[in-house]
Amino acid sequence: MNIVVCAKQVPNPEIPMGKFKIDAQALKVIPPEGIAPVISPFDEQAIEVALRIKEKNPGSKITALTVGAGSAGDILKHALSMGADEGIFLSDPAFEGSDAFGTAYILSKAIQKLGNVDLILCGRQAADWDVGQVGTLLAEDLGIPLITIARKVEVLNGKLSVERALIDGYEVLEAPMPSLVTVSNEVGLPRLPTGMGIIMAARKKVAVWKAQDMGIDVAKVGKNAARSEMVKLYIPVREAKCEMFQADTVAEATVKMAVRLREAKVI
């Protein structure tokens, strides 16, 4: 099987609240100092899903794709160190400022160039702008079936069997291949790269594909092609007025808190 995983680099999403800074004028998020960006967590889980499928279907090939600029391609090395076979960095100045439609179009052209793909995996949403659309739009561009928010993905008798996480349970869906599936955290923790994986990844070369390599119509990508624009970015004000309870013991402190909650008619 040929499996493609689309992955994106994001600022570490689990930084403490106080470290998160924006440039409201430029409508940009300022990368937190000294905290390295990471592969978007759901995308890392998408790679995990691909690896599990490969284990059951020996001979499969996993190709990781990312659209971005500068160091954004570094996550491909991470994908390789986890066990992906190939990484391709889709990078061109023309791509900058693309919205979900532009990004999906770029990915679709890369996938068409690869050809013969059986399964495409994306994260349910990227842990930066939380857009939650690129996977869907990519499936629409390619005209292939789509299942979102998977908690389990299996290949059974040449078909996909996917459990889709629902708010109060899950449902099982069946789809032919090729199809696209977006992955949610319920699939389980991604494996850590092994020492050997890291050495192998360091040796592998990551290809860089530009717009013309994929026959991309540059009028369809970049900021000008975007169908939405951000007009404002701000950090919501949160009044931090926590009434703290103290006493000789923790138990006594909570008793004081319970009494206070009762007085305030909260309980």
């Binding site: 930066d128 702008w129 349970g169 975007a226 169908r227 138990a251 008793v255």
Partner: protein, 332 residues
């Protein structure tokens, strides 16, 4: 420019009744439609929709388009996308709104692609820009660390709304409106994905989303066993138990009780967070709570920045005394 008119909402029905999210859609939809001079339309897809259609009018809809078809009785991504696209193309609304639900998360981007529009997902505020009459959609980004305001340039301008972030109107059974049947015949060849099974995993007792009291445990609880004391506290208060994603991912509790950006949205009278660090993605699911109590052994934990009442300490010392005192207080 062609007629830039029409505000369509896509509602949802649960057990024959209009779902709360649909009433919330009509609440905000009414404001936006009035600001633009539009009628407020709602599309309902499914089977047995008569009762829900009536309710939609009571909640503010001017016209309810009812697409009844046995093939739509349960959500199937392909048949719903095909049916909704067909109706939306006929109505050609300028604005199209849905809920950020199991259905909305899945369907909205598909529709945006099929209709040529664009969608802002999981919005917490919607407004009409006075000069342009365009939709301004505010959505949390970076897990809720910031808010971005989006203006969609394509048509339809679409948005999904986060549950409980916008208020429904008081229903008024004497409101007048039209119910219009529409044909949503779905071409079987459009349906590529089959739903073969649906599994409900609802917890017994009070529903987490509806509970007045929510007791949530995080990774600080250390294991599944410790959640028993949270269940006891929830029982004492008459509430429900929630969890952070970390606690769910570790397999201590079912993932259906996850609170947060990608879990459930709750807005109880009292939210008690125990061993929860207070990551923004978690707070996104409980920031609408009237009161937040935090018990955490780390005085620097983020949770104390959003809580109203707090105790620094080990839950093992804190919880038994707290539960005991609550029992006493509630008995008087």
């Amino acid at each position: 420019m062609a007629e830039d008119k029409g505000l369509l909402t896509i509602g949802e029905v649960a057990n024959g009744k209009l779902a709360p999210i649909a009433a919330e859609l009509l609440g905000i939809g009414r404001k936006l439609a009035d600001a633009r001079g539009d009628k407020l339309d709602m599309l309902l897809l499914g089977a047995n929709l008569a009762e829900a259609a009536k309710q939609a009018i009571a909640y503010g809809a001017d016209r309810v388009y009812v697409a009844e078809n046995p093939a739509l009785a349960e959500y199937n991504p392909d048949s719903y996308a095909a049916a909704a696209t067909k109706v939306a193309k006929q109505l050609s609304p300028s604005i199209l709104l849905m809920g950020q639900t199991d259905m909305g998360r899945d369907l909205a981007p598909r529709l945006a692609a099929k209709l040529g529009g664009a969608v802002s997902m999981d919005c917490t505020e919607l407004a009409i820009e006075p000069d342009t009459k365009l939709l301004l959609a505010t959505r949390p980004v970076f897990g809720g660390n910031a808010n971005g305001v989006m203006r969609v340039k394509a048509r339809p301008q679409m948005a999904t709304i986060r549950a409980k972030s916008m208020a429904a109107l008081e229903p008024n059974a004497s409101r007048q409106g039209e119910v219009i049947k529409v044909d949503a015949g779905v071409d079987a060849s459009a349906v590529k994905v089959k739903v073969t099974k649906k599994v409900k995993q609802e917890a017994l007792g009070i529903k987490l989303e509806d509970a007045e009291f929510v007791v949530t445990g995080g990774r600080g609880m250390g294991g599944a066993e410790a959640f028993k004391s949270l269940e006891e506290l929830a029982r004492v208060l008459g509430g429900a138990v929630g969890a952070t994603r970390a606690a769910c991912d570790d397999g201590w509790v079912a993932s259906t009780i996850q609170v947060g950006q990608t879990g459930k949205i709750v807005s109880p009278k009292l939210y008690i967070a125990v061993g929860v660090s207070g990551a923004m993605q978690h707070i996104a699911g409980c920031s609408g709570s009237k009161n937040i109590v935090a018990i955490n052994k780390d005085p620097e934990a983020n949770i104390f920045k959003v809580a109203h009442f707090g105790v620094v300490g080990d839950y093992k010392e804190a919880l038994p005394a707290f539960i005991q005192k609550c029992k006493e207080l509630l008995a008087t």
